[in-house]
């Protein structure tokens, strides 16, 4: 067999760039699989992956994180995204027992709203102590124990505030409990939960205490109990640990011919701030024949400063003065992830948990494949 052909660097660059033209997007499919290019070895190898794969962190807060996966296939990136959204378990309100609700918001709507409130608490308690609520053998919801259910209570009654000023118009000052917030929800510990979820750090509490649940007027009452269970986002969005988990491909901007003077200013304004920088044409450049800078020494020229900030609006492709001078694209194997947590998990833990889940799934698949060929 003939030795494998190695493609040139320019060819590789072309293959990993998605071309963004003024009205079309081309070269969208990845081609790095065996048999696509004759004579080339494009089989997947762990060694190459280990050497080329990189993770770059951009910023990290408990609520939000952003990082780049470089050198991964879209399948991997998308699997991670989907696991983040729908397969990492969280605790959320699942059943509501309404004893009384005389507010204007209907029971069903109120319960739906309660379900969507994100809660947090002791990480150890939620992840290690609390387990799934199993179904009974006949398919009905299984029994409720302290290790699979968290009980909450919401009891509010709106009353008039006798000390309010006579000309007061603001309902929150005129009445007590005119607004019901998520912070009014109380945790009712059961069994061993009292030790695991202790105030103030570990107690089960809403992540955002200021979520408005309902509005009341004097005489109106809300009295209900809630049961929280563990679930996954595939079942209902309230169980999703992320507000958004998304990725985009790194934009590329290639200036093929110099953009100078007033055009450079206009070019910079076609992009979000910080993407294009303006520099002066140096003497060396002006003296290089064929560079396009001849006789323009000291003039402004546009250079690409930070393509990551680009939104790929393609505005620059609309103007005739930039025609043939710029190429837009995206890097096929550079995924800029952005994960926004709802608060039960920290955003950095989410990625690790997603990878853990993916590994588990792969192991399960591996077993099945082995069974298949046996």
């Amino acid at each position: 067999m003939a030795p494998f052909v190695k493609p040139s660097e320019a060819e590789l660059e072309r293959r990993r760039t998605i071309q963004i033209n003024d009205e079309t997007v081309t070269n969208i499919s990845s081609t790095d699989f065996p048999g696509h290019y004759p004579g080339e070895d494009n089989s997947w190898s762990f060694e190459t992956f280990k050497n080329t794969f990189r993770v770059e962190h951009h910023y990290l807060t408990p609520a939000e994180s952003s990082f780049s996966l470089i050198g991964a296939d879209a399948a991997i990136a998308n699997a991670l995204r989907r696991i983040l959204i729908s397969e990492i378990p969280t605790l959320a309100i699942e059943t509501v027992y309404v004893y009384n609700n005389t507010s204007v918001i209907q029971d069903e709507v109120l319960c739906h709203r309660l379900g969507l409130i994100p809660f947090t608490g002791s990480k150890k308690g939620i992840r290690e102590f609390l387990r799934w609520r199993r179904k009974a053998e006949d398919g009905t919801p299984g029994p409720v124990y302290d290790y699979n259910t968290v009980q909450l209570r919401l009891q509010v009654e709106c009353t008039r505030n006798p000390s309010a000023a006579p000309d007061e118009r603001e309902p929150t000052k005129l009445y007590h409990h005119a607004h019901v917030y998520a912070r009014d929800i109380e945790f009712v510990p059961a069994g061993r939960q009292a030790d695991l979820f202790q105030a103030p750090e570990d107690i089960i509490r809403p992540v955002n205490p200021d979520i408005l649940v309902a509005k009341l007027r004097p005489g109106q009452v809300i009295d209900l109990q809630m049961h929280m269970h563990k679930g996954v986002g595939a079942d209902h969005a309230k169980f999703s640990p992320v507000a958004t988990a998304s990725y985009r491909l790194l934009p590329t901007i290639t200036i093929t011919r110099p953009i100078l003077g007033r055009d450079a200013d206009k070019f910079a304004r076609c992009f979000p701030r910080g993407v294009i920088a303006l520099e002066r044409v140096s003497a060396a450049e002006a003296n290089t024949p064929g560079s396009g800078y001849e006789g323009h020494e000291g003039e402004k020229k546009a250079v690409v400063a930070d393509p990551m900030k680009d939104t790929v609006s393609r505005e620059c492709l609309r103007h005739p003065e930039f025609e043939g001078k710029v190429k837009l694209g995206r890097r096929r194997d550079h995924f800029i992830f952005s994960i926004e947590s709802t608060g039960q998990w920290d955003s950095d833990e989410l990625l690790l948990e997603a990878i853990k889940t993916m590994k588990k799934k792969c192991e399960r698949l591996e077993k099945q494949v082995i069974n298949m060929v046996r």
């Binding site: 959320a92 699942e94 004893y99 009384n100 609700n101 005389t102 379900g115």
Partner: protein, 81 residues
């Protein structure tokens, strides 16, 4: 029953002599004329007060004629979905 004998039923017992002595009160608590006490809410001032069958349908404080029954105390279960 002949057409002449029929009388339009009204709330007042006296206007319907045929019904005197009979009670339509399913609860059967107390005297037949009085009936059980029920909690009502005034639609205007929000006052909670008790009323019996035959009482004037009026709020005892403000005289509003719109009254509400209280919501059942029975628990209702919902899925938070």
């Amino acid at each position: 029953m002949s057409r002449e004998a029929y009388q339009v039923p009204t709330g007042s017992q006296a206007a319907n002599p045929a019904a005197v002595g009979k009670s339509f009160d399913a609860y059967g608590g107390g005297a037949a004329e009085v009936g059980p006490q029920m909690q009502y809410l005034c639609g205007d001032c929000g006052l909670k007060f008790q009323m019996r069958r035959g009482d004037a349908i009026r709020c005892k404080e403000c005289g509003c004629r719109i009254l509400y029954k209280e919501r059942t105390k029975r628990m209702v279960q919902f899925e938070a979905r």
